[in-house]
């Protein structure tokens, strides 16, 4: 017999191992933000997805050096930029330096007279050229051997400086300093782009480590610090934190459960048996979700495993009810109906969620249902073959003493009833929203990291991420022309003080249409030559010195037009790509206003143009709408699920009154849990809602077992003991979870820990000495 059980245990673990291997090999685990986006998405939501998931550019890392004098920061910035550039691990490194070692701008320089700001009609006239030449003469005499000297024959009018000034006007970066400095000069800023693919988290993590090592070697004192931000930094930090927390939390939970099991059963080895249903449940859930959805989201796996963690209660009930005379099989015969009813009720509550239009939610529903079903089946069919005949001693007499007098029970019931009603009043009359509205709070990223990212991005002049004007056209040219047509109106908003500035792709890349115009306006070589000769009359410039200038203007006039590729080649793609990109079959141009003081004028501007290609978009509003939709849908599915669960309960108990006696304490504990969460000012996300559903499942189990066994004194103590162990396990594990820094886990932990404790108390008080069982 003993050998039979051992063999069954070994075979079970062999099977479980196979299942785990299958899940690991077969499932396609995704960890992006796709979990929170709906299946049917609008172009606006896609834009939001794009901005949230990829940030302005893939694999872009923003670097801020601070904690020293500007001179020191500039030195460090240059040292790092050089070391980064030498390492060949980056597609592009920039600290804003425009020296010989800065980015290669030659492909752009050749087309300088097509760029913005446009050449005015009189810019190449005699008077303007004369002014430019006189100024050049002065800078030749005062500036010793500077770059200006090398540029002079090609660029006597200071075209390059004008372009740079024009571009810098679009960013908030400190101007004219050799490297990018923050506006208050307390930080030097850099931007690098990894040459490894952005989705390769391991490579990104390695790269960030490399950057930090280099910084540690180059820094001159300990006061200097380097902050990194960007999508890949957030992603790696999140995954690192999740990993660390998961290890810590798992270890703490396992130790805690072992301790409870030892206290309960005096046999830690029983734990091996007890986790089998859970293990199979997780594997089955993962496999079915993968089969139905083609992928398994990381959030589904993590959160789903937590949800079906309550399946650990099933073997606890089985073990607790095994009496010396019968063994596990007999015990199963006696508790199976109750256990099955509790399980089916919980499954019913989760069932509607599988129909959600949000794939993440639908996955979670499926995972939970499959997991609970399989865990129950494993408890039913596998565990009796493994469990010893007498897994634990009969309950000690302590449990019998836990029998309050009828008077005390009545008093407690009344008190809890009043408390629940108070909670109901508090919940319904409380001011302000109780809902979480920020989409990003549903992601596991620490808030501090997101704040740093926002700050650095603002410093880099990566405009407002909230308000946007969106141009959507079949071709890039149409987007650029539409964007140019808006420039005057936007400039008027700047002058009226409604916005501080704006950034758009056509600022850097003029449309082909305007380029054609500019080419036409550029003077013929002979005309320019004549103007130049007249302007230089009497000045000591050697004749023929400005041939390269004449060549340059001619090349702009007759050569190929300026294209997006020119910017990419020059390493300036990061500036244009976030503002101009393909989406679906269309080209999208984003016009990003800076420092918006009056969003309504932007909306009005878009409306007044009455152009279907142009739209005003408030990303925050858009994301709040998304979160609202998500929550509303969850609430609808809960509203559908709870009546179904009640119906199953009614059918299972074959009595409406008994159903009420079981459901009432569950409902009350739900009210009390909700009130406690609100008292602590916790905003409710869908994760909280699903956790509350879990509280319902746990509470129903407790109530059902109490309801079933309260009459028989022997069963009563066994049930009481089983429920207390179940609750002790749930409360302690979820309390550990509540210590997590990841907002979602913290929320779930708090909700379930509080809810499980209330559920046990209420189920006990309302079953004790009366209730449904007497009926």
């Amino acid at each position: 017999m003993r050998h039979g059980r051992l063999r069954a245990l070994v075979i079970s673990y062999g099977l479980l191992g196979l299942c785990v291997a299958l899940v690991t090999l077969w499932t396609n685990l995704r960890t992006d933000l796709s979990f929170v986006f709906p299946r049917q998405s609008t172009p606006n939501i896609e834009l939001l997805t794009d901005r949230l998931q990829r940030g302005p550019a893939l694999g872009l890392v923003l670097v801020a050096l601070s904690g020293a004098e500007p001179e020191e920061l500039i030195r460090l910035s240059n040292g790092l930029a050089e070391a980064f550039a030498e390492s060949s691990r980056f597609r592009f490194v920039s600290n804003g330096r425009i020296g010989p070692s800065g980015p290669d701008l030659s492909s752009l320089f050749a087309k300088r007279y097509l760029m913005n700001p446009p050449i005015g009609p009189s810019d190449f006239g005699v008077a303007a050229l004369r002014d430019a030449l006189e100024e050049a003469l002065i800078s030749l005499s005062t500036t010793p051997s500077m770059a200006i000297k090398r540029l002079l024959p090609r660029d006597p009018t200071g075209r390059l400086r004008k372009i740079a000034t024009f571009w810098e006007g679009g960013s908030g970066l400190g101007q004219q300093s050799g490297v990018w400095l923050s506006s208050d000069e307390t930080a030097a800023l850099m931007m690098v782009q990894s040459s490894a693919p952005a989705f390769d988290l391991a490579a990104q993590e390695e790269l960030l480590g490399f950057m930090r090592d280099l910084f540690d070697r180059l820094k001159t004192n300990d006061g200097v610090r380097m902050d990194l931000a960007g999508p890949s930094v957030i992603a790696t930090a999140s995954s690192q934190m999740i990993r660390v927390e998961m290890h810590g939390l798992t270890l703490a939970s396992v130790l805690c459960v072992i301790a409870i099991f030892y206290a309960a059963f005096r046999s830690p080895s029983l734990l091996l048996v007890v986790i089998l249903p859970l293990g199979f449940g997780v594997c089955a859930g993962a496999v079915i979700v993968q089969g139905l959805h083609g992928h398994l989201h990381g959030v589904t796996l993590a959160f789903g495993s937590i949800l079906i963690g309550i399946a650990i209660d099933y073997p606890i009930h089985l073990i607790s009810h095994t009496v010396e005379t019968g063994g596990a099989r007999d015990a199963l015969g006696s508790i199976w109906r109750t256990l099955r009813l509790g399980m089916l009720t919980t499954v019913a509550a989760f069932l509607p969620i599988t129909l959600s239009s949000f794939p993440g939610l639908s996955q979670l529903g499926t995972f939970t249902i499959v997991g609970l079903l399989v865990a129950a089946l494993v408890t039913r069919w596998l565990l009796p073959a493994i469990l010893p005949a007498m897994p634990m001693a009969p309950p000690s007499t302590i449990w019998d003493r836990l029998r309050p007098t009828n008077a005390a029970t009545r008093g407690l019931r009344l008190a809890l009833l009043i408390l629940s009603l108070t909670a109901l009043v508090y919940i319904t009359t409380r001011d302000g929203t109780i809902w979480e509205t920020d989409l990003r709070n549903l992601s596991p990223t620490p808030a501090a990291m997101r704040a740093l990212d926002r700050r650095l991005r603002a410093e880099m002049g990566a405009a407002d991420v909230r308000h946007l004007l969106v141009l959507r056209q079949p071709s890039m040219e149409e987007v650029l022309r539409g964007s140019e047509a808006l420039t005057a109106d936007l400039q008027a908003l700047v002058e009226a003080g409604r916005i501080a500035g704006f950034d758009m792709a056509s600022r850097y890349l003029p449309s082909l249409h305007s380029q054609r115009q500019r080419r036409r306006d550029l003077p013929e070589r002979s005309v320019l030559q004549a103007n130049l000769d007249r302007a230089a009359a009497g000045l000591p410039f050697r004749s023929g010195l400005f041939e390269p200038f004449l060549d340059g203007v001619e090349q702009s006039k007759l050569g190929p037009p300026l294209t997006l590729d020119d910017f990419v080649e020059a390493g300036l793609g990061w500036r244009l790509r976030p503002l101009l990109f393909r989406q679906g079959g269309d080209w999208v141009g984003l016009i990003a206003p800076i420092d918006v003081s009056d969003p309504q004028t932007l909306a009005d501007l878009a409306q007044a143009r009455n152009d279907p290609a142009l739209a005003y978009l408030d990303l925050k509003l858009e994301s709040e709408t998304l979160v609202d939709d998500y929550r509303r849908e969850t609430l609808v599915w809960l509203a559908v699920g709870v009546p179904i669960a009640m119906a199953i309960l009614w059918i299972g108990l074959r009595s409406f009154a008994r159903m009420i006696w079981v459901a009432a304490p569950v409902g009350m504990s739900l009210l009390l849990t909700l009130a406690v969460l609100m008292l602590f000012g916790i905003s409710l996300s869908i994760f909280h809602l699903l956790s509350l559903l879990l509280v319902v499942g746990v509470g129903l189990d407790y109530a059902l077992f109490f309801e079933r066994y309260a009459r028989d004194p022997v069963s009563r103590t066994r049930t009481l003991r089983a429920n207390v162990f179940c609750a002790a396990t749930s409360v302690s594990v979820f309390t550990i979870l509540a210590f997590s820094q990841i907002p979602v886990l913290h929320g779930i932990g708090t909700t379930v820990a509080v809810g499980a404790a209330f559920s046990l108390l209420l189920a006990f008080v309302f079953s004790e000495g009366g209730g449904g069982a007497e009926r």
Partner: protein, 184 residues
């Protein structure tokens, strides 16, 4: 700084005139300001340019050059950082000395000499000292390739611990002659 010190110390009159005695003599007076005038002969131009201003040196690496004619400009070179102010209101333009080898070649020589650092001078330049204590000529040829690409030779003349002129020959043929007029 630039200069000018009691040219005849006890030691000076006893040992023969040499680079070590020259640098020792030059290093004795630092931290003052001198006037200078400059003539630039540029390939771009058919006639030379002239300008005037002041120079200040504070050891070990601070150099300030203020031009007053024909147009005000101030350049401060501190360490590897160069700040240039074209007028009073705009913030200075900041660039790196190492990005501009022609300037670097000149500044490195001046710093070594004024700080009396013979070793760093000889590390960066091949030196040749001619003449006597009362009329000497120090010719410097940059050793590092990137400096030699920009500047072929720096020639400094003086008397005792006084620098009288600095001539910079750029590789592309441009020539700058700085004449030191004395303390303010």
């Amino acid at each position: 700084m630039f200069v000018l010190l009691s040219p005849h110390s006890e030691l000076a009159s006893q040992t023969p005139w040499s680079l070590s005695r020259l640098t020792a003599a030059l290093a004795q007076d630092v931290g003052s300001t001198v006037r200078f005038s400059e003539e630039r002969q540029l390939q771009y131009l058919t006639e030379p340019l002239f300008l005037e201003g002041t120079l200040t040196f504070k050891p070990p690496g601070y150099l300030e050059r203020q031009v007053v004619q024909p147009k005000w400009q101030r350049m401060i070179i501190d360490g590897d950082l160069v700040s240039i102010e074209e007028n009073w209101k705009d913030p200075p333009i900041r660039v790196l000395l190492s990005d501009y080898p022609a300037l670097e070649a000149f500044v490195a020589a001046l710093r070594s000499i004024l700080a009396g650092d013979q070793r760093s001078l000889e590390r960066t330049y091949a030196t040749a000292l001619e003449g006597t204590e009362d009329a000497w000529l120090l010719s410097l040829t940059p050793r590092p390739q990137h400096l030699r690409d920009a500047v072929s030779e720096v020639r400094i003349t003086g008397a005792g611990g006084n620098i009288q002129s600095i001539e910079i020959m750029e590789s592309e043929g441009d020539r700058t002659i700085i004449t030191i007029h004395g303390k303010i």
